[in-house]
Symmetry: C2
Subunit: 158 residues, 2 copies
Amino acid sequence: MAESLHFRLARQSDLPLLIQLLVDDRLGSFREDFSDPINPRYLDAFSAIEKDPNNELIVVEWQQELAGMLQLTFIPYLSHMGSWRCMIEAVRVASHLRGRGFGTQMFQWSIEQARQRGCAMVQLTSNKQRADAIRFYRALGFVDSHEGFKLYLDSAQA
Amino acid sequence: MAESLHFRLARQSDLPLLIQLLVDDRLGSFREDFSDPINPRYLDAFSAIEKDPNNELIVVEWQQELAGMLQLTFIPYLSHMGSWRCMIEAVRVASHLRGRGFGTQMFQWSIEQARQRGCAMVQLTSNKQRADAIRFYRALGFVDSHEGFKLYLDSAQA
């Protein structure tokens, strides 16, 4: 039987642990700032997410412990006959809790949230360097029909 | 000298022409409903976009005529030290006005909007079938570092 995860909206007091989760990642380790007190940029971002009814930063707990995180963004579009989409981003599972199927449960939960909000589509992008993640998304039924393009704006970096 | 485009927020009265733009597309032609009066699903979507301060549906005009459209979504994230991203979607140029460099101007304008909102990144996905679009995004400096995954939720379809 699957181990039971608890999903809830993130609180500001979760931020130090959430930043640690972002740092504890092969690609994220060099682009985050895990200083104490926490960088105010994270507080600003948290506040913006919390205020936006179309963004949900989700904390995933297992046995009272932080097991993972993810962010859902609900976006209304004219296309596909005026349909909402759910974008899933910033999915992280604590490194010492990997291999237990938590990622699958987190996606099943997220897809159910998207259904409940009436979304016609769930979408995400995954760095092509994350071969395991790409196999995982395909196994969940996602189709990699699109190229995911990024353009960094240097002037906006602090 | 580049021909001058005018950019503004879409109004509800633009919807019939915007839906026509969505229909006038190789991939979009079979997934839209160009009936008159317009399908109320488009009105609902327009209303949701208009109410959301982090979504902007943009009409592009050239010589008082509809030349194109695009949608910008501004998303706050914890990752990358709490940075905003701008997602560009639903970019369309009227078929009889292609080949004039309007697409380039539309992206330059969008990237400037993203800078003004303090975004650290602009992102988009493009269907792998759109080979011309993919070349176009690369030429603009976008890097196709990611796979773009979609999962359609059948139960949500009307």
